[in-house]
């Protein structure tokens, strides 16, 4: 437990300089806006944004919950599906040869372009929003996992072979470890792209969620509220990414900090 604790705490080190930087930027922002040189609709003062947050707290909380529900549901569905399909594709050679190249191509699509189509088919409820999040998570995670499962050292694979390991043993004792950094990198990317896609989908469904709140506050010129909603959406993303980074640190004690080199080079489109 204390080892785990230390790995988590280590992450909080090195944050002092950036926090100072951030504080300075906020202060500058407040000072500039309070001179009145900048129109409030161009850049509202941080205090205005905070005020809106306090005033519309319950609304913001409600819409955040909607966005979070969509993002997490899509994230969960997409991840589970990706893991299941990746395992299947590893063992079904012929299916893989046919399906995988198409999935690779699909990953390069701008997912947000299909939201209107999903809305036409599914209506303006949660379904199209969750679907787009799940789709992007699924493809990003699947591609990374497929790479990860094949990334095991050739020498280690040979060793397993000489030890007469079964396919399942190989999967559990070698490939699952080799794939872990790739999986976690995909999850980190997916967590943030899910919030983005949920938000954009809400612009289109116009029914609930932070994206919807941004849109109507923009239309009604409540600039403070609009910024507040954007800040909260960012905080949600950072929170989700932060959680996954912590999981990463705890789940891969053998990776030197900041050394997830292989995983760093993997990625998926937003």
């Amino acid at each position: 437990m204390s080892r785990v604790g230390r790995r988590i705490r280590d992450g909080a080190g090195g944050m002092r300089a950036p926090l100072a930087f951030l504080a300075a930027a906020l202060l500058l922002w407040q000072v500039v806006t309070s001179t009145g040189l900048v129109k409030f609709y161009v850049l509202p003062a941080p205090s205005t944004v905070l005020e809106a947050m306090a005033r519309y707290g319950p609304t913001i909380a409600e819409e955040s919950l909607a966005t979070l529900t969509v993002a997490l549901a899509g994230f969960g569905l997409g991840t589970v599906a990706a893991i299941a399909v990746a395992m299947t594709l590893t063992y079904a050679r012929l299916v893989r040869d046919a399906v995988y190249p198409l999935l690779l191509a699909l990953r390069a699509l701008p997912f947000i372009a299909i939201i209107p189509i999903l809305v036409v088919i599914m209506g303006t409820g949660y379904e199209p929003r969750i679907t787009v999040c799940a789709l992007s998570t699924f493809l990003t995670t699947l591609v990374n996992l497929m790479r990860g499962l094949r990334s095991a050292d050739a020498e280690v694979e040979e060793l397993m072979h000489t030890l007469n390991a079964t396919g399942m043993q190989r999967l559990l004792k070698v490939r699952a470890y080799a794939a872990r950094p790739y999986l976690l990198a995909a999850l980190r990317i997916s967590a943030s792209s899910c919030v983005i896609e949920a938000t954009v989908a809400e612009w289109i469904t116009g029914d609930s969620g932070l994206g919807y709140l941004v849109q109507i506050s923009g239309y009604t010129f409540q600039i403070g509220l609009m910024w507040a909603a954007i800040v909260v959406a960012s905080a949600l993303t950072l929170g989700l990414v932060g959680i996954i980074t912590l999981v990463e640190r705890v789940a891969m004690p053998w990776v030197p900090r900041g050394g997830v080199g292989a995983a760093a080079r993997q990625g998926g489109a937003a």
């Binding site: 190249p101 954007i230 080079r265």
Partner: protein, 253 residues
């Protein structure tokens, strides 16, 4: 020959999927207002090709300008972060955080600032390309092996030589990872900002055709957007092959 053999199964599958789709939609009498058949989408593309080309070009231009701008700034910043400890300690974590921020969500702010024209889209695309490229490139520039840097040191190399001969080539795989993500993100950014407020572009067209319930045209626009997404990704992959001849045959994409 082997390439052809590898391309065959996915091509067959694609044809099968399209054929199944066509048969199902016509056979089961699914309304074109819900899901049009591939042949009708193709017909819609043919019928509207001039319009589609116009909107597509607008989106491509916005995405490309933003992509180029964001990457240029990112490359400069990455070099600065590599050689300035102060900047790296102070600003880089913020850039990392910025990368996690759903930047697309600021599209409404940019449209509010810059109006419904092209600049708001370019700026958003630039923001997105900037963050992914910067993060990947900083990692890449730091990825040069210690032994290689030591070799350059014993050869009395200058900082510029170290950058040109070691750090930059070592960073290329990372840079291209960033560029691939950035190319997709730039198109996403342009379309997303067009959803918010625009007078032309594919995002505008998609939004508009849905509002007019012109479902076949909507699908046609989405197909064009998908093709652009794929093509831009493919272009970066080609550039990657060209730029790193020493990796050819080492890795699949």
């Amino acid at each position: 020959m082997r390439r052809l053999a590898r391309a065959l199964p996915p091509a067959l599958l694609l044809v099968a999927v399209l054929a199944g789709w066509e048969l199902y939609v016509t056979g089961a009498g699914v309304s074109s207002l819900v899901v049009p058949s591939p042949s009708r989408i193709a017909a819609a593309i043919a019928a509207n090709h001039a319009d589609l080309a116009h909107h597509a070009l607008v989106t491509i231009m916005e995405a490309f300008l933003g992509f180029a701008l964001g990457n240029l700034v990112a490359i400069g910043c990455a070099v600065a972060f590599t050689y300035s400890g102060l900047l790296r300690a102070g600003a880089y974590p913020l850039v990392l955080a910025l990368q996690a921020v759903p930047l697309v969500a600021i599209a409404p702010i940019l449209v509010l600032w810059l109006g419904p024209g092209v600049p708001s889209k370019v700026l958003l695309a630039a923001f997105l390309a900037y963050t992914v490229t910067l993060v990947n490139l900083v990692r890449g520039l730091a990825s040069a092996e210690a032994a290689t840097l030591e070799l350059l040191h014993t050869l009395n190399a200058s900082r510029r030589q170290e950058l040109v001969h070691v750090r930059f080539p070592a960073a290329l795989p990372y840079l291209f990872t960033g560029l691939k993500l950035g190319a997709s993100a730039a198109i996403v950014a342009a379309i997303a900002a067009e959803y918010i407020g625009a007078l032309q572009g594919l995002g505008y067209l998609i939004h508009d055709t849905r509002a007019r319930l012109d479902n076949e045209y909507l699908w046609a626009a989405v197909v064009v957007a998908a093709v652009i997404g794929l093509a831009s990704f493919g272009l970066v992959v080609l550039a990657e092959r060209w730029a790193m001849p020493w990796r050819r045959g080492l890795e699949e994409t």
